[in-house]
Symmetry: C2
Subunit: 218 residues, 2 copies
């Protein structure tokens, strides 16, 4: 995938000596810095990302960092934006698949992504409570996109759209986050977790009243 090449995600830059004086195009340099920032989220919170530390690791000047990102806050936002975009791209539904295999593929990709980037993902989820409103909006926006994907699937399945269906989809997204982040099992149990998530998604959606006016409940 082009995005992966561009972000150099097959090379772990932070595990290598700083690639000093490497000549890169501005776009590739920016992508490299964002990739490095995402890798640092595995061991640092968002607020701990230091521009100085990052400039040194990337072998560029502090001034160049500010040229690309304007401020520490600008860099943090760009890292979160890149991480959310990567996550959403890797968990995108394949519309060529039938609904059930499509949901299954998305949930498998979701479980794999979170477990493979657990520490980074936790930093991001915590970023949702960041004092920076833009960061909160980025993380919340990624959840909204996931919820919107679920709702698009619901429309195909013939569910009536309703405020409660939207509440259910959005709340299930954080349910899934929490379940995967809290999962403490070895790798071979991943398919059990994905299957559990699939069952809970269907079960939660089935709890939504079919129409708004069916209030006849004790």
């Amino acid at each position: 995938m082009n995005t992966n090449q561009q972000f150099g995600s097959d090379r772990t830059l932070s595990g290598m000596p700083p690639p000093r004086r490497t000549r890169l195009t501005p776009d590739r340099r920016r992508a490299q810095l964002l990739q490095l920032g995402r890798e640092l989220l595995a061991t640092h919170t968002l607020d701990e990302l230091s521009v100085d530390d990052l400039a040194e690791r990337a072998g560029i000047s502090r001034g160049l960092m500010f040229h690309y990102f304007k401020s520490k806050q600008g860099f943090q936002r760009a890292v979160v934006e890149a991480a959310c975009a990567d996550f959403l791209q890797r968990t995108a539904p394949d519309t060529a698949l039938e609904p059930v295999p499509r949901v299954r593929a998305v949930l498998t990709a979701f479980v794999d992504y979170v477990l493979d980037h657990r520490a980074m993902y936790v930093s991001l989820v915590r970023g949702a409570a960041s004092a920076d409103e833009t960061v909160r909006e980025l993380v919340d926006g990624a959840r909204d996109t996931q919820a919107a994907r679920i709702l698009a699937g619901c429309a195909e399945f013939g569910y009536d759209d309703s405020p409660m269906l939207r509440t259910a989809a959005r709340a299930w997204v954080v349910f899934a986050e929490e379940a995967v982040v809290g999962w403490q099992h070895p790798g071979e149990d991943r398919h059990r977790l994905a299957a559990f998530l699939e069952r809970t998604l269907m079960a939660v959606l089935a709890c939504v009243e079919p129409a708004e006016d069916t209030l006849s409940r004790t």
Copy 2:
């Protein structure tokens, strides 16, 4: 309940002129300050709680604030601790009730509490992503207590304890938080929301495999 009296939650202190020079016992003064802090969480994030502002509102000196709470961080932690304790006390299961009415009463209390203290509750949930580890632990601890209550109920219902049951209970707690915080309906729909939560809790628990070794799934 004694705790409510002590915390003076029937009086909205922030809506009144500062009770200057009022003579209170140290315990009551401390409780008054914590109550004021919790009320301010309705309009401020945790990090925005200013010791100066609070001392002025309470009509005491900054020095006395520090006498009670040692630091701004100490005050924030004490406010979060008091808010979590209050929340858990108000949503405690009444073991005199049968399981189904007991769950229903807890969920009604939960929905009422969150909707009646929505802004404070959101500040607290965001506090879970606070840079302060103690604050994170307090909020996470309140979620753990809620999950433990669900698991205690499950044991009564005859569910086998398992890592997946624990994952389900914990993830459902954040599902419920998200669903109530995101609920945009007027007051009379509260019972629908509580009933929806009840159905999702039962549905999610039913998604847990009955035993660890039933892995025979494609």
